[in-house]
Subunit: 418 residues, 2 copies
């Protein structure tokens, strides 16, 4: 007889499902569909020539090391480069405070593995990044959601939730996924003070921080926390773990992210990383280092900012031009996404069906809420990605979407009139 595999699955897998986004994305694969659903960087800005040159050099000069097993902590020159690179944002980490991960997603998984006991509550924004929920749920996380608005997490609503004793707070302060919103400087200070007051640490996820198209860079939470604590320059302590990635600035196919944390936390994470995959690909680490090392990344990020800003502006203009006045949307100052709010009574799932018939797609907002009491709220929203498509497609896609929106709106009014 054969093993009844399903009956052997561990308890922790019971709440794990395939990402709704993934299932939706399958519906949007047809070539005639203009999809704003994915969160993909624009492939046309990948620096292919630099990668060519880097691969050639790495294999010529350093091939034996680049193809061999490596340290679980990551490739030392890359850790040094990251420490140097983030110091411009005031994060004064040293290489020993940096762990290289297989993308930010693995950082979230390792943090879940490190910190979450089954039943632990995690405080998240409503809405929040779906992949974090996927990473945490498998370790038995439950959630407390705190609403956000155009200035990010509403810190004035935070205290009652902190008194529930969450294990940590998970926050995306810059150009949040899915909201496209940025946590204001005032709220950053409040958030860090509240974390300190209640002794609840913060996981600061910053995949998009460098992709700012207007305004000034705001201080990361980890920096504000350091300044408050003052007495420690060496990150041996702190209330914030900081995550970032090369996925949005270089290429997501490399799967390279990192965690900045106190050395004790790094060494425990390294042990977990050993068991999880020994180490991140030496080859992609050495190649990424070779591509990025001599200031190329700065130059390249400027290009990405230019391209994405233009696409964001085309999307904002098109929304203004085509969409009815009852519909609202965020004005993201960076990142990849904007967030649309439909009038009361409209439902993003029905709109999704109609939009598919118009050959355009997005991600329905309810996917991004951790707790069911806020799920109802999600039905009035959807997420649009503006980084992937070329401007002419963005314009045409928003036109198509406006047809679907108007049709749904018309039906809604008919119901109300009837």
């Amino acid at each position: 007889m054969s093993t009844a595999w399903k009956s052997r699955y561990a308890q922790r897998t019971k709440n794990v499902q395939s990402s709704t986004i993934r299932e939706l994305l399958k519906l949007t694969q047809k070539p005639e569909i203009i999809s704003f659903a994915g969160g993909l960087p624009a492939p046309d800005v990948f620096p292919l020539d630099r990668f060519q040159e880097a691969c050639r050099r790495v294999l010529e000069v350093n091939g034996h090391q680049a193809l061999q097993y490596g340290a679980s902590e990551g490739y030392e020159p890359l850790r040094e480069m990251i420490a140097r690179h983030i110091s411009r944002y005031g994060i004064k980490a040293r290489p020993q405070h940096v762990l290289i991960t297989s993308g930010s997603q693995q950082a979230l998984d390792l943090i879940g593995k490190l910190l979450i006991n089954p039943g632990d509550r995690i405080l998240v924004e409503a809405p929040t990044y779906l992949g974090a929920l996927q990473a945490f749920t498998v370790y038995g996380a439950e959630y407390v959601s705190v609403p956000s608005d155009n200035d990010g997490l509403r810190t004035e609503l935070l205290e009652p939730s902190l008194r529930l004793g969450p294990k940590f707070m998970y926050v995306l302060p810059n150009f949040q996924n899915p909201g496209g919103t940025t946590l204001s400087e005032g709220r950053r200070h409040e958030l860090v003070l509240l974390a300190d007051k209640y002794g609840i640490p913060i996981i600061e996820d910053d995949p998009y921080g460098q992709l700012r198209y207007e305004g000034e860079h705001l201080p990361p939470l980890v920096v504000i926390d350091r300044e408050n604590l003052r007495r420690d320059e060496s990150y041996s302590i702190g209330n914030v773990l900081y995550l970032s990635t090369f996925s949005k600035t270089l290429a997501p196919g490399l799967r390279l992210g990192w965690i900045v944390a106190p050395p004790d936390v790094i060494s425990k994470l390294v042990q977990l990383k050993q068991g999880a995959d020994l180490h991140t690909s030496t080859f992609t680490q050495v190649v990424a280092y070779e591509v990025a090392k001599e200031g190329f990344l700065d130059e390249h990020v400027k290009l990405i900012r230019k391209v994405y800003r233009e696409r964001r502006d085309v999307m904002l203009d098109s929304l203004k031009h085509f969409f009815p006045a009852e519909v609202k949307w965020t004005h993201p100052k960076g990142g990849l996404f904007l967030w649309v709010t439909l009038p009361q009574g409209m439902d993003c799932r029905s709109l999704f069906e109609v939009a598919l018939k118009e050959n355009v797609a997005f991600v329905p907002g309810d996917c991004f809420y951790a707790t069911s009491e806020t799920n109802g709220e999600g039905c009035r929203h959807f997420r649009l990605n503006f980084s992937y498509g070329r401007p002419e497609l963005i314009r045409e896609g928003i036109r198509r979407l406006s047809v679907a929106v108007k049709q749904q709106l018309h039906e809604l009014h008919a119901v109300h009139a009837g």
Copy 2:
């Protein structure tokens, strides 16, 4: 104040420690030491020219895909190639039965995540692969050890342990790490029948199967299981999950492994993989496919076999030449390791100290035992790697080691005489 991070760690991390091997390896990093401790492939056989050419072509022809996000299941042409490749060993999998993982280590981690509830018993060989213990322990695994000899796991001792109801059996049938032993064909059949009889599935880990230096390839457990079940050609059912890797045949720095499993198991593993790291690096997958696709891998494996066989023979000859008759060792027919047994009363940890002074290193045997009752047994053994060093270094290393062994043996005799 700062977060007391250690007090926030999850219960599951309590039994997680840095691999003893890793700690020992730090002691063996000095250039004057000849180390047989690591499990590293020989870098001098990495096919650097092929990688050069593959990277060049991939970035020229397929760069936008290779650097972009990809499917969690893995790069489709690579899955197809693996399915084709393993069919020569009788494993008739289709691409949908193959999940690409970030090395075999991630395969072990995902399987632990999928199957192990805290307190579940896992049946392992004594000795067994340390990395599997690391991957499983974090999910709360406990262990049942069954001894092995020159013909691998002693299946005649298996039934009492199966009656304890382990969640699964974890077995390395070919050129086992650390023993270097191979499960005999008769025992393979017995093992598969016992798995079926008790309804306890098998995780078959086969990183070294292709590196056979003498004798005939033996049928994988997954094939014997298929043949017994007969009625299913499509792997929709079965009692065996099969793991392998490109780490030993192509390059470990790529971090590319795979799991062959029934489609239901694959889809659940894919969900876990999404949460763990979204997907394995697209770039390394596409490059590995480009390197391996047109039969190159077969040719290359022939070269590896030739080089490693020679190194194994040098090690066996040197052992015979330099070592005292009281010491015994396995004669591995493939793989990377051989296993030395010291006379009663000698201790591998003390030997390790003395060996370091002689500038030679190995891994003490007690590292490879899952349960404490078999740990005492471990102290009489140690593991030697023969794939990494060049022949002249192997000979010199074994000579140095023999000095340490003789010295320890002398002391032992002196104690007995005294």
